[in-house]
């Protein structure tokens, strides 16, 4: 399914406009609320949009959406835009285990963490999607943000028929990719593909290390808390008064430090680790777009081969002198000539779009990483400043032991 030509032109115009426009739209996802009971329960999230863009009816508005709504939105956008070369940001991943815990009603910290993780991911997903000038113009996106009622997206159910079909298609695609031998006339594409491949590998490695850090930091927090309690007990049984006091103070310091570790682990995860995991999935989308270009080329190439066959068939008919068959052959040749032309146009269009998209993507990537790295370092600075405060307060207590 390819977009109608008329849509293509106006899209280009709108993009020019958007580039001059001040990008002014802010999305927040908040207030997760459990709706319903038992296995049919779900989390509803409030999606708030603040904007001065004229295409929206109001400047500030909010709606309630559930996770499958987000998946539905992504599905629609992907279907419309991926195959023509636009890098559509991927939606957050499903988690049957995580969601089941929430449905069953476990009010423990792991399900609260899961909901918070999801909320933050949904927010980042929407922010990335609206940042894309073409996607921002899409009516489905606008409907998602604005309208109070949304038809339920049924095809996103994990074990549904459509879900299984999607899985099969993905597999078929993978097999296809191996057999497509494209004549790459443009070195830029090959280079970029290699670059993204390398970036993918490195990001995965970094992500694994950061995940390990989050894990160890949480362990450190737990062990510090345990030590604090133990030190308090030791202080209680110490019969030298001043030393007893100092040990209690030490216990208090360690308790505060435990809090610090928890906050730092939070930053490790939400600021650093989640950015990396977002980009790993984004790069998968980029790779997908390159794959679509290859498929597009394949279609064009197939059309050329078929045209050639039709010409040969016509020549045969001419020799055999069958007038009605000759006419049919001529018709088919015209049909396939048009298809070849369309194929070439599509291929050029997708190549052009991808070049622009990759340029935009790289700019975003640089900005994102710079922002996140600075934010993360600032969290580390805060932790060290607090540590200094705590130990500076403790030192005179230790010196006071007489």
């Amino acid at each position: 399914m390819s977009a109608p030509v008329i849509f293509d032109r106006s899209r280009d115009e709108i993009e020019e406009e958007a580039n001059g426009d001040v990008f002014d739209i802010e999305i927040g996802v908040s207030d997760p609320e459990k709706v319903g009971d038992g296995m049919n329960a779900y989390m509803a999230y409030r999606v708030t949009t603040k904007t001065s863009l004229s295409m929206f009816n109001k400047n500030e508005f909010s709606v309630k959406r559930r996770f499958s709504d987000f998946l539905g939105l992504h599905s629609k956008l992907a279907t419309k835009y991926l195959h023509v070369g636009y890098i559509v940001p991927p939606a957050p991943e499903k988690s049957i285990v995580g969601m089941t815990k929430v449905k069953v009603g476990k009010e423990d910290s792991s399900s609260t963490e899961f909901v918070e993780k999801r909320r933050a991911a949904l927010e980042r997903y929407l922010q990335r999607t609206v940042k894309h000038p073409t996607l921002l113009q899409d009516p489905d996106l606008r409907q998602f943000l604005e309208s109070s009622e949304l038809p339920r997206a049924v095809n996103t159910q994990a074990l549904s028929g459509a879900g299984i079909l999607r899985m099969v298609n993905k597999a078929a695609d993978a097999v296809n990719k191996m057999t497509i031998k494209m004549n790459e006339s443009d070195a830029w594409f090959e280079e970029k593909q290699q670059q993204f491949e390398n970036l993918d590998q490195q990001l995965r490695k970094l992500h694994a290390s950061v995940e390990a850090l989050v894990c160890h930091r949480k362990e450190l927090s737990a062990n510090t808390a345990a030590f604090a309690k133990s030190a308090a007990m030791l202080g209680n049984s110490e019969d030298h008064t001043a030393l007893s006091r100092a040990l209690s103070q030490l216990a208090e310091v360690e308790e505060k430090i435990d809090q610090l570790h928890q906050e730092q682990a939070f930053a490790d995860f939400y600021v650093f680790s989640e950015l990396l995991s977002d980009y790993i999935r984004l790069i998968a989308a980029v790779k997908g777009v390159f794959d679509h270009r290859m498929k597009c080329w394949q279609k064009w190439d197939d059309a050329q081969i078929t045209l050639q066959k039709k010409r040969e068939a016509e020549a045969k008919m001419m020799l055999a002198n069958k007038p009605d068959k000759i006419q049919q052959a001529k018709n088919e040749i015209r049909e396939w000539e048009a298809k070849v032309q369309q194929g070439e146009r599509d291929f050029e269009q997708i190549s052009k779009t991808i070049r622009k998209e990759v340029g935009r993507f790289e700019k975003e990537r640089v900005k994102d990483f710079k922002t996140v790295i600075i934010k993360y370092l600032e969290s580390l600075v805060q932790t060290q400043q607090q540590l200094i405060k705590y130990w500076e307060a403790f030192l005179p207590e230790a010196k006071a032991i007489a």
């Binding site: 850090l213 133990s230 030298h240 790295i373 600075v381």
Partner: protein, 294 residues
């Protein structure tokens, strides 16, 4: 590329290994120093010939380890002691000082044992986190060298930061180990030794009481009275002597404990401060460079 990265990381690897070695070496030296100082401060032990030989003999001492027989003897001694310990600790002490010490030591020993274990775990977690910083630094370096965009400078600078920060974190872990974990471990053993001393005194008390009973019996039967009297006097002397030295040892134990904790807690706080300030300075200067870039 792999080879180049490995070569670049080799000096870091050497530094890592030598840092570890240095940390362990510092620990060992500290423990030995404490031990020798204690022996030197002890009124009786300081006069021991073995101690003098240890300090003065300028050639190799050729100490032999315990042979099988001696190790077996130790094992049996410990077994007897723990069986006895159960019998003897039930006896309530007439002397308030020793009664208080016994209650105190039993509880203190258990709590210091717990604190020591928890401190060990905390120190190990710190080290794991420091190791993660190392891996993150390497990954960032790899990203930085591959990236052709603006952000490669960021990656390289932050990689450098993580390398330096990791060294500080490793030192935090090592210092906590030295000043806190080792301190607690030491007093775990010390409080055990104090408990053992109380046990020996209790044994001596039991012997004394038994000797008293034997003397009464002998007097009642008017048989072997002299023998019983001598035996009772010996037990009495032993008991009084051990009580006197035990009292002094236990008072000293408290004094030393307070001094050791004070010294170590002060040093711990000072080192934590030093490292936190070091880390802060690294982070702030890195941020200054990165912010100047954007």
């Amino acid at each position: 590329m792999t080879t180049l990265t490995e070569i670049k990381l080799l000096p870091t690897l050497i530094l890592l290994v030598s840092c570890e070695y240095l940390a362990i070496f510092k620990k060992t030296v500290a423990m030995h120093e404490v031990f020798l100082c204690r022996v030197a401060a002890h009124p009786i032990l300081r006069k021991d010939l073995n101690f003098h030989v240890f300090l003065e003999y300028n050639q190799d001492l050729s100490v032999r380890g315990k042979n099988k027989k001696e190790k077996l003897e130790d094992f049996f001694k410990n077994m007897v002691k723990s069986a006895d310990g159960v019998i003897v600790s039930g006896v309530k002490d007439v002397d308030d000082f020793f009664e208080h010490e016994r209650t105190f030591l039993l509880e203190y020993h258990n709590r210091v044992k717990d604190a020591s274990a928890k401190s060990d775990r905390m120190t190990r977690s710190h080290k794991s986190a420091a190791d993660d910083y190392n891996r993150i630094g390497s990954s960032l370096y790899a990203l930085g060298t591959q990236d052709s965009t603006d952000v490669c400078k960021f990656f390289l600078k932050v990689s450098e930061l993580f390398d330096k920060t990791r060294k500080i974190e490793a030192r935090v872990s090592a210092d906590e180990d030295l000043k806190l974990s080792d301190l607690l471990k030491y007093y775990l053993r010390e409080s055990q030794a104090a408990k053992d001393l109380l046990y020996r005194r209790s044994r001596s008390l039991v012997d004394y009481e038994n000797a008293n009973k034997a003397l009464d019996k002998a007097r009642a039967k008017n048989k072997d009275v002299l023998q019983a009297e001598t035996s009772q006097q010996v037990c009495c002397q032993k008991f009084e002597k051990i009580s006197e030295s035990a009292k002094q040892e236990l008072i000293d134990f408290k004094t030393r404990r307070v001094a050791a904790f004070r010294k170590n807690l002060v040093e711990l706080a000072e080192l934590e401060l030093k490292h936190a300030k070091g880390n802060l300075q690294l982070l702030q200067s890195c941020l200054a460079v990165l912010n100047g870039d954007t």
